[in-house]
């Protein structure tokens, strides 16, 4: 399958088209909306399912020395990427250090939906990946926030981290659900999965479609609201940074000797930017940073880029590099 075929197959999958539908509807100012509670319900479902399945995979495949390495590599990546992002932003844009640091935090962290979409692309291509990549995703959520706060503190503007903020970051909903269901899946294994597979496996892709429809609606509304924000430099950053992040992810995958599937997922984690946990942390820790900049970039530019073009590229590159 050529890269083009892959990209096209990906573009014409129900999940991407659902995202496109949402985006188009919002840009056309349709009043179509999905209630907040339903959107949250779907995200809880997706996190629970992806964590659980990852845990079961580890239970089945047995523990693996590379897991520890991968967790460490994930944490290092999440710590390091904000510095790369920050430098790139200072070159490409005129953002203040504060805004640049806030944006940087998002790109060091990850988007779990992009990760999920990545696993779908893998499945469609007939590849597998290690179940514990879910744990790597969880580990990568938070460290980037610390790097961003450090970047701000250096410029003398930050607020000290208080205990509440620590707890909020480390025990935020996505991390708790992802890690918790991963552990449950690990403990209960294939038996546990058999009992709930009809809930967390079979309908998964369908729920993902509706969730992406919602993300399209939210991204579209955000883009309409924040037109003024998207200067060329910022746009360029939103398209270049995922490539930088995915390159770093590829290096991690190769160093750890992971297969094509897991390496691709590492690239996806590096490339993707948070739009749930990190924005919330930023509102507390860096309230003066402009949220429409980081939300528009992360959800309105980088997320669609990864979803449509990024994923097939990362897959192709990962295959090439690993020979998988």
């Amino acid at each position: 399958m050529s890269l083009l075929d892959l990209a096209l197959g990906n573009l014409l999958s129900p999940i991407i088209l659902s995202f496109a539908l949402g985006l188009a509807a919002a840009l056309a100012r349709s009043e179509l909306t999905i209630p907040e509670a339903v959107a949250k319900g779907m995200s809880i479902y997706l996190l629970f399912a992806i964590g659980f399945k990852g845990g079961v995979a580890v239970n089945v495949a047995g523990l693996d020395a590379r897991l520890v390495g991968a967790l460490v590599a994930g944490a290092v990546l999440s710590f390091a990427l904000p510095f790369a992002a920050f430098s790139l932003l200072r070159v490409l844009t005129r953002l203040s250090p504060l805004d640049a640091a806030a944006v940087a935090a998002h790109y060091g962290s990850i988007s779990i939906v992009t990760f999920v979409a990545g696993t779908s692309v893998l499945e469609a291509a007939g590849l597998t990946s290690d179940g514990w990549m879910v744990a790597v995703a969880a580990v990568m959520e938070a460290p980037a926030i610390l790097s961003a706060l450090w970047l701000v503190a250096r410029s003398g503007q930050g607020r000290g981290m208080d205990a509440d903020l620590w707890r909020e970051i480390l025990l935020n909903g996505s991390i708790v659900l992802l890690v918790g269901s991963f552990v449950i899946g690990w403990i209960t294994g294939q038996d546990g999965l058999d009992r709930i597979a009809a809930f967390i496996v079979s309908p998964f892709q369908g729920v993902l479609c509706l969730f992406l429809l919602d993300m399209g609606l939210v991204a579209g509304r955000g883009l309409r609201e924040a037109r003024g924000v998207l200067r060329p430099g910022l746009l360029a950053f939103g398209l270049v940074m995922p490539l930088v992040g995915s390159a770093a992810g590829a290096v991690a995958g190769l160093l750890l000797g992971l297969g094509a599937g897991s390496t691709m997922l590492f690239m996806v984690l590096g490339a993707s930017a948070s739009y749930i946990a990190v924005p919330a942390a930023m509102r507390v820790a860096l309230p003066e940073a402009n949220p429409s900049i980081y939300l528009t970039l992360s959800l309105g530019v980088t997320f669609p880029f990864n979803l449509t073009l990024g994923l097939p590229i990362y897959l192709a590159v990962s295959r090439m590099l690993t020979g998988g």
């Binding site: 907040e36 995200s43 509440d164 939210v218 509304r221 749930i276």
Partner: protein
């Protein structure tokens, strides 16, 4: 029906700051308040709506707090330390309450 003068304070604050605000209120001895959900709004930082949102960032809450007049300053001081660096609105109205012993 016998009513008693009091103050109604309405604080519109980011959802992420809700717990910090209510903790500060309780610490300052203000233990009576009610939190209302907020659907959307507009301010200097632009227009927003909760429809379809998953992140807690970008949502707000309205905290309504009815206090005796003499407790108003303590309340405002406590609220201000939390609201200070954040977006949001604090608004105080004169009111009359039933059952004054509850405040």
């Amino acid at each position: 029906m016998q009513t008693h003068p009091a103050k109604r304070v309405e604080i519109i604050i980011e959802a992420m700051m809700e717990r910090r605000l209510t903790d500060a209120l309780v610490k300052a001895g203000v233990t009576g308040f009610t939190v209302l959900p907020v659907q959307g709004g507009s301010g200097r930082s632009g227009q927003w709506s909760r429809a379809g949102q998953v992140s807690r960032a970008g949502g707000m809450r309205a905290v309504v707090c009815i206090v005796r007049e003499e407790a108003l300053d303590t309340l405002l001081d406590a609220a201000f330390t939390v609201v200070e660096r954040h977006i949001g609105v604090v608004c105080v109205t004169d009111c009359q309450v039933l059952r004054a012993e509850r405040f």
